[in-house]
C-alpha cells in the first residue's frame, strides 16, 4: 500500500483480492474441506437438516444483534454481539454444507439473503420478540443450553463435516451458556424488581421451548442414520440444566413441560420472523450487485 495517504491505498489495484472493506474474495466457508457424503446418506435430506441448524443460528444471531446500541451496559452489547458472531460463523458453515450437499451449489449468501421468511426452518424461539433484557437472558439460556446439548452429541456424527462444525460450536456455546447463567443468577437472585421481571420472562419464554424437543421427520431420519440428533432425546438433559439454573436463581421451574409441537421447523412461523428477515436482507436486496 502506498504511504501517501490512506485513500490512495484503498483505490490501488490488487492482483489477488479486493480491498478487504469490500471483501477478500474468499467466500466459501468450507474451502478445501473434504465434503464427500457419508455412505447411505441422501444429500437432499442432509441439506435440509443442515439448513435447520443453520437457520436456528442465523435467525437467533440477527435477533441478538438488535441489542447493539441498546443493551443496559456497553459490556453486554459487546457480549451479545460476540455471541451473535459465533452463531453467524456456525450458520455460515452449516448453510455452506447445505448448499453443497443438495447439489445446488448455493452459497451462504443465497441462503441468508435470497430466501423468503417462509423458507426458513428455524425453531420459533430463535425469532422470538426481543422483549426486555430479562427475556433476552431467559431465551438465551434456553437456546444455548439446548444447542450445547445438541452440538455435543452431533460432534460424534457419522458425517465428519457436521462432527467438526459441532465440536467447534460446543466450545463456543459453553461460553454462551455461562453468560446466560451468570445473568440469570444475578437478576433472579437480585432485587425484588429484577426477580419479578425474571419471573415474567420465564413465564413468557417457557411455552415456546416445547418445539426445541419436537422431532421433525428429517431430524428423525438423520438421527436414524447416525448423522443427526433427535431433539426429543435432549429433553431430560436440557430440562435438568434449566431446573438447576432457575433453582439457583431462586426462580420456580414451571412443572408442566410444554407440548413438543413443530412450528418454525415446518415453516409455520409466527409474525416475528418476516420483519426480522426483512431487516437482515435489506442492504443485500438494495445492492444485489455488490460483493462483500
Amino acid at each position: 500500500m502506498s504511504g501517501e495517504n490512506i485513500f490512495t491505498g484503498m483505490v490501488e489495484e490488487h492482483e489477488s483480492d479486493q480491498r478487504w472493506a469490500f471483501g477478500t474474495g474468499f467466500t466459501d466457508a468450507l474451502a478445501g474441506v473434504d465434503t464427500t457424503l457419508p455412505e447411505g446418506v441422501d444429500g437432499g435430506a442432509l441439506a435440509q437438516y443442515c439448513q435447520m441448524l443453520g437457520d436456528d443460528a442465523l435467525v437467533q444471531a440477527q435477533r441478538l444483534s438488535q441489542w447493539v446500541t441498546d443493551a443496559p451496559e456497553l459490556e453486554e452489547e459487546v457480549a451479545l454481539a460476540n455471541i451473535a458472531l459465533d452463531l453467524i460463523g456456525q450458520a455460515r458453515l452449516l448453510l455452506a454444507r447445505a448448499g453443497q450437499a443438495d447439489g445446488t451449489g448455493r452459497d451462504e449468501d443465497a441462503f441468508a439473503y435470497r430466501r423468503a421468511a417462509a423458507q426458513f426452518r428455524n425453531v420459533r424461539l430463535a425469532a422470538a420478540p426481543r422483549g426486555d433484557f430479562a427475556r433476552a437472558i431467559v431465551t438465551l439460556l434456553a437456546l444455548s443450553s439446548w444447542r450445547l446439548a445438541l452440538m455435543s452429541r452431533l460432534s460424534r456424527s457419522r458425517d465428519p463435516v457436521l462432527a467438526a462444525i459441532a465440536a467447534k460450536a460446543v466450545n463456543e456455546l459453553a461460553y454462551h451458556r455461562e453468560y446466560a447463567v451468570s445473568w440469570a443468577l444475578r437478576l433472579g437472585d437480585g432485587t425484588e424488581y429484577s426477580h419479578e421481571r425474571m419471573v415474567e420472562a420465564v413465564a413468557r419464554v417457557w411455552p415456546d421451548t416445547g418445539e426445541l424437543f419436537a422431532t421433525h421427520p428429517v431430524e428423525a431420519r438423520m438421527a436414524e442414520l447416525g448423522v443427526g440428533v433427535d431433539p426429543g432425546s435432549l429433553s431430560t438433559e436440557v430440562h435438568d440444566v434449566l431446573a438447576q439454573v432457575l433453582g439457583a436463581a431462586t426462580l420456580e421451574t414451571p412443572t408442566a413441560l410444554p407440548e413438543p409441537v413443530l412450528a418454525g421447523r415446518s415453516g409455520d412461523h409466527g409474525p416475528e420472523l418476516a420483519p426480522l428477515v426483512h431487516q437482515m436482507q435489506e442492504v443485500a436486496r438494495a445492492h444485489p450487485e455488490a460483493t462483500w
Binding site: W20, T24, F26, E75, L85, D86, Q90, A149, I165, A174
Partner: protein, 171 residues
C-alpha cells in the same frame, strides 16, 4: 527432486510469517492456526489454516494474506484450505506467542478447559482462571466482561494498578 524440501520450507516460512490482522504482534505460527503446508504434484502450494472461532472475521483476511505471501515467495499456484478438525484450542498458542502477547499488554490464556466426551457439565460459579495483570503483574484482577473487542478476548481490570487489560480466552 532435491529442491522439493527447500521449496516446501520456503512456502511454509512465508505462510508462517503472516500476521493476524487483529493481533498483529502474532504470526499464524504463534497462534497455532497454520496446520499444514504441502506442495502438490502439480506444484500447487496447499496451505491449511483453522479458524479460532467459527465466526472470526479475521479469517478471510488471513487467507488473503497467506495467498499473497506465498505468491510473493515465488509460487504461482496457491490454495488456502480450511482445516475444521480438530477445533482450534488456545493451548496451541506457542510459548513465543504467549510472551509476545504479554509484552503487548494482553494477558495470555491459561489452560483450556477439558473437553468432555459427553455433556458439558453445568457450573453455577465462576470457574475460569483469574489472570495476572500483564502490566504490573498483580494477581488482584477482575473480569469486566467475558467477551471483548474480538471473539478470542475477554475484558479485565487490575485492582492494583487500575488499568483495564485484555485476556485471551481459554477455549
Amino acid at each position: 527432486m532435491v529442491s522439493t524440501l527447500t521449496d516446501h520450507d520456503r512456502a511454509r516460512t512465508a505462510a508462517a510469517a503472516v500476521t493476524d490482522p487483529e493481533l498483529p504482534m502474532l504470526t499464524l505460527q504463534d497462534l497455532g492456526i497454520l496446520r499444514q503446508v504441502r506442495i502438490e504434484q502439480d506444484g500447487t502450494v496447499a496451505v491449511w489454516i483453522t479458524p479460532t472461532y467459527s465466526g472470526c472475521p479475521a479469517l478471510a483476511e488471513m487467507r488473503a494474506d497467506v495467498d499473497r505471501a506465498v505468491r510473493a515467495a515465488g509460487f504461482e499456484q496457491v490454495e488456502v484450505r480450511t482445516a475444521l478438525s480438530p477445533a482450534w484450542s488456545s493451548d496451541w498458542i506457542t510459548e513465543q506467542g504467549r510472551r509476545k502477547l504479554a509484552e503487548h499488554g494482553i494477558s495470555p490464556p491459561g489452560q483450556a478447559p477439558a473437553r468432555p466426551n459427553g455433556p458439558v457439565p453445568l457450573t453455577l460459579l465462576p470457574t475460569r482462571t483469574v489472570p495476572c495483570c500483564p502490566l504490573c503483574g498483580s494477581a488482584e484482577t477482575e473480569e469486566l466482561s467475558r467477551f471483548g473487542a474480538t471473539s478470542c478476548k475477554a475484558l479485565h481490570r487490575c485492582r492494583s494498578c487500575l488499568e483495564p487489560f485484555e485476556h485471551v480466552k481459554e477455549i
